[in-house]
């Protein structure tokens, strides 16, 4: 639905003056790249909206030779209250870097364009300072994000009185099967799997409204993995928004409502989790279909080629060099987002 075109009366779109244009559902859904429009027009403004985000770095390779690398290019993502959005893609597709951008922890030499909106307002450094750790929490991919000189219990970001705080921390750690007394230990005294559980427990025990989890489960055993992902699902059902970054599509599908498919730093498609089923014909982008068909249970189909390097991105669609459907149009310019069957896609040939 286009904003303001709600009721039946006067609901017809007027063609621009002097140019008659047939209005179909698809043209009406075409996004005009207006920042004021919510990313997902069906659901309205999401809690978190990342719009046309690009991040690049200038590197000095040899002496004064410069080169620019662009690990994130025109990336979009929307996460609403009450849902788990899985972000899947190859390593190097910009998943972790996006998380760092949301949390405002990019390296200082990063050049950023585009918007990150939280509750409809830009996430400025000042706002982040207040929200980070309390309203917006982060499960980092590396356990090295723990402060090595602080006991892990003291690193849990909640604002409570001492006794209440200790009780909450103990309860959260117990839920993640951490042995009693873990809160008094230093990070070096924990195994990799335990440290990871500490990170997940810390990010989920407070009143966070947006939880950004970057590969939270590797290194955990099967039971703890399920428990951790179920917990994220429960938190979403309570009305929080969860971003689950993972390379494991199959696992993500069990817990997520929607899936954003990343490739070479952009979002190729945002699909409903249920679209990943059967022969994958519910999916919109050829890469999403390839990802689905490459799973061992779905044919294990391999196809050649590699993700383009961030210092040598193609002019047109980032997936075109590997795409069987690519035409001249695909090599010439990058497709804009197109709404299709309750999701959206960046592809000229999506059906």
């Amino acid at each position: 639905m286009i904003k303001g075109e709600g009721g039946k009366a006067g609901g017809r779109l007027q063609p621009p003056e002097g140019r008659l244009r047939e209005v179909t559902l698809d043209t009406a859904f075409e996004l005009e790249n207006k920042p004021s429009e919510p990313l997902n027009q069906e659901r309205g403004l999401s809690l978190l909206e990342v719009r046309e985000l690009s991040i690049s770095f200038v590197q000095y390779s040899k002496g004064l030779h410069q080169r620019t690398i662009t690990p994130i290019l025109e990336l979009d993502l929307a996460i609403s209250r009450g849902e788990v959005v899985a972000v899947v893609g190859e390593s190097g597709s910009g998943k972790s870097l996006l998380a760092h951008a949301i949390l405002g922890i990019l390296p200082v030499n990063a050049r950023v364009s585009g918007e990150i909106l939280y509750e409809g307002q830009p996430l400025t450094p000042e706002r982040l300072e207040k929200l980070r750790g309390l309203e917006i929490t982060f499960v980092p991919q590396s356990v090295q994000f723990l402060n090595p000189l602080m006991r892990v219990g003291a690193q849990v970001p909640i604002r409570q009185r001492k006794e209440k705080r200790e009780e909450l921390v103990r309860k959260a750690f117990k839920r993640y099967r951490l042995p009693e007394g873990t809160e008094r230990k230093f990070p070096f005294q924990l195994s990799g799997g335990m440290a990871r559980r500490v990170l997940v427990a810390s990010a989920t025990l407070g009143g966070a409204r947006l939880i950004v989890a970057d590969e939270p489960t590797p290194g955990m055993d099967a039971a703890t993995t399920r428990e951790a992902l179920w917990h994220l699902r429960e938190l979403a059902d309570e009305g929080r928004a969860v971003m689950l970054i993972t390379h494991d599509l199959e696992q993500a599908l069990q817990f997520a409502d929607r899936v954003a498919v990343f490739y070479a730093g952009t979002t190729l498609e945002e699909a409903r989790a249920v679209d990943f089923s059967g022969d994958g014909s519910g999916l919109r982008h050829p890469y999403s279909k390839a990802l689905w068909g490459a799973l061992p249970g779905n044919g294990f189909r391999a196809f050649t080629g590699n993700q383009p390097s961030p210092d040598d991105l193609p002019e047109g669609c980032l997936y075109a060099p590997r795409c069987k459907m690519a035409t001249d149009e695909c090599y010439a310019s990058r497709p804009v987002r197109k709404y299709l069957r309750g999701g959206w896609v960046r592809c000229y040939h999506a059906t």
């Binding site: 190859e90 390593s91 955990m220 390379h247 990802l291 061992p296 189909r301 391999a302 590699n306």
Partner: protein, 200 residues
């Protein structure tokens, strides 16, 4: 000419057995899947099979004799995290050069782009780097590959690409593979037979 673990036992701390009398045979041209949960001793077993760890009891035999020492090891191990298996201060070219270079056929098979050779490890993605690690391990002298969760951290497309390349080497050169993974469905499609870690 099989690779055989015969009643191999191992502990890191006395009294805490990680492996007890584990036996397994891998034949040339065969892919044996080894499945187990994390902490069940899969990686320890992999390191023993490749000769990195000496078992506290039992032996590992190649063609009926202990693994050769002081020369190229025909049993090569590839790890789960490629970024931890390469020197971050070497270019890809030097990393491959340490294994006496890699021929263009292997590079093509694994889908390695020649432009990667001048890059540093942190400029490649995990899937790209894992292919470099495989190219380094799969020299013509290599007869057995111990693949320890080599595609666990990779996306499905890259996983399928890498395993298709390994399957080709198994069929063409009679490479024997021990595929270690927790992923039943992956082992179901790549392995000739699957063994449970608890039962070896």
């Amino acid at each position: 000419m099989p690779l055989e673990a015969r009643e191999v036992s191992f502990y890191y701390r006395r009294g805490e057995w990680v492996l007890r009398r584990a036996s397994l045979i891998v034949n040339p041209g065969e892919i044996v899947g080894l499945r187990g949960e994390s902490g069940s001793g899969k990686t320890t077993f992999a390191r023993i099979m490749a000769g990195y760890l000496k078992p506290k009891g039992g032996v590992v035999l190649l063609d009926g004799t202990p693994l050769p020492r002081g020369c190229y090891n025909p049993v090569q191990l590839v790890h789960q995290h490629p970024e931890k298996a390469v020197n971050p201060r070497w270019r890809i070219l030097d990393i491959l050069e340490e294994a006496r270079g890699v021929d263009s056929e292997t590079m093509e098979l694994l889908g390695i782009d020649p432009s990667w050779l001048n890059r540093w490890p942190n400029e490649l993605s995990g899937g790209e780097l894992q292919r470099i690690c495989l190219a380094r391990a799969l020299r013509p002298e290599t007869r057995y590959l111990i693949a320890d969760e080599i595609t666990t951290m990779l996306d499905a497309v890259t996983q399928a690409q890498i395993w298709k390349a390994i399957l080709e080497m198994v069929w063409e050169m009679g490479l024997g593979v021990l595929a270690i993974s927790h992923d039943v469905s992956l082992l179901g499609v790549v392995a000739d037979r699957v063994v449970e870690m608890e039962k070896i």
